[in-house]
Subunit: 207 residues, 2 copies
DNA sequence: GACACCATGTAACGCGTTACATGATTGC
DNA sequence: GCAATCATGTAACGCGTTACATGGTGTC
């Protein structure tokens, strides 16, 4: 009885091994669900997830194509280099669909700034403030950019955007999430700056 | 004239090359500023930054020791394996101090769940909801844990904790940040669940 | 009897980054 | 003239993960 289960598991393992699909592979497939794209465009769009480099994207697309998960057509352009436009296949769509409802691996987050924040006591209050102001500045840029993107989406697609059936629904969710988290990061920086100011005032009081 | 600059740059490069310090190295140094620790303990404490494995921590500590940035003493224990307690040296402290005020590399964030959220349109509304409920559950656990840690710190160190001079200030900042961001993540999930419910209601209206 | 915790290490492998390589067009 | 944008690729290297290895104590 359970032999069948082992056979199925074996086949699934074999497929997984042959395809060696990692999260980036699925990220590319899910991007291609929205619309066909070139490798170059995918590299830019991937920014909603994380910043993968083209040197990783191009070879992976070749691999996905070999595994029959995507196909591409050559497109000749004038004044610009030629490109390959990739589309997801039925096989790719099936693989992605069965992957979506599986449990997710815990997120990987590595942020140098947090180490600096941790060791902030090694600097004077002014340097500390400078570091947090710089952090705020870089995140405000991100927030501004994110807001533009969200508004553009809302103008283009209207209330349809907030429907699961909309092709851009997933992208919209991620934009909103990034915006929230980036704003929260800024709020945290201001809170820290407040603490640093309190400390300064107390020093002045002592004088 | 500019020859001096090149010599300085060369020396700095040579030092950097020999020490080959990455963010994890500085993370360990900053942990050791708070108190001497074993490699095992450092691996647990590193959780505030990101989850490094012991297989990375132990060899790195050996390297830091060879570079004279940390020292260790053997501590024999009964009922438990022996351990090495590492402390930061003056050289390590100096290196860390000059690193803290340098600009930070952009954070690395890789989260599989976001790919699933992006491709959520491939599943039915119920599966989608299940995925977001699971996400909420795992983040609520983190929030609860974080709150316990913060309260423990506040009880132990009182209002001194909110002073840059406190040895635990950095750690406190990071705990508060994680808490805020984790709560924001949960809020986002609830927002998404709201959208998914709206969609369902509209389907019902059509019936 | 199995599992989790404490504690330290090594080896192999795969993923991701940096750098090398090419080339036409548009804007400052 | 220089940099940026579009567009695709390869090669080398280092970081980080998984797995292998050991072994005593305490808990279910």
């Amino acid at each position: 009885m359970s032999i069948f289960i082992y056979i199925i598991l074996y086949i699934l393992t074999a497929i997984t091994w042959r395809m060696n699909m990692n999260a980036l592979g699925y990220a590319l497939l899910s991007m291609l669900m929205r619309k066909p794209c070139s490798g170059y465009e995918l590299t830019q769009l991937l920014e909603v997830f994380w910043q993968a480099k083209h040197s990783q994207v191009y070879p992976l697309l070749t691999k996905l194509e070999q595994d029959g998960l995507v196909t591409f057509v050559h497109v000749q352009q004038t004044g610009k280099p030629d490109k390959k436009i990739y589309s997801i296949t039925d096989k790719g769509k099936a693989l992605l669909t069965q992957w979506v409802s599986k449990p997710s691996a815990p997120p990987v987050i590595r942020d140098e700034f947090l180490v600096r924040a941790y060791a902030i006591g090694l600097t004077d209050a002014n340097t500390a403030k400078r570091l947090f102001h710089e952090r705020i500045f870089s995140f405000e840029e991100k927030v501004a950019f994110r807001k533009v993107e969200i508004e553009r989406m809302q103008k283009e697609h209207g209330s349809e955007l907030e429907q699961i059936t909309c092709r851009h629904f997933g992208r919209y969710l991620l934009f909103q999430r990034k915006l929230k988290l980036e704003e929260e990061e800024i709020a945290w920086c201001h809170w820290v700056l407040g603490l640093l100011d309190n400390a300064k005032m107390k020093v002045n009081e002592k004088k």
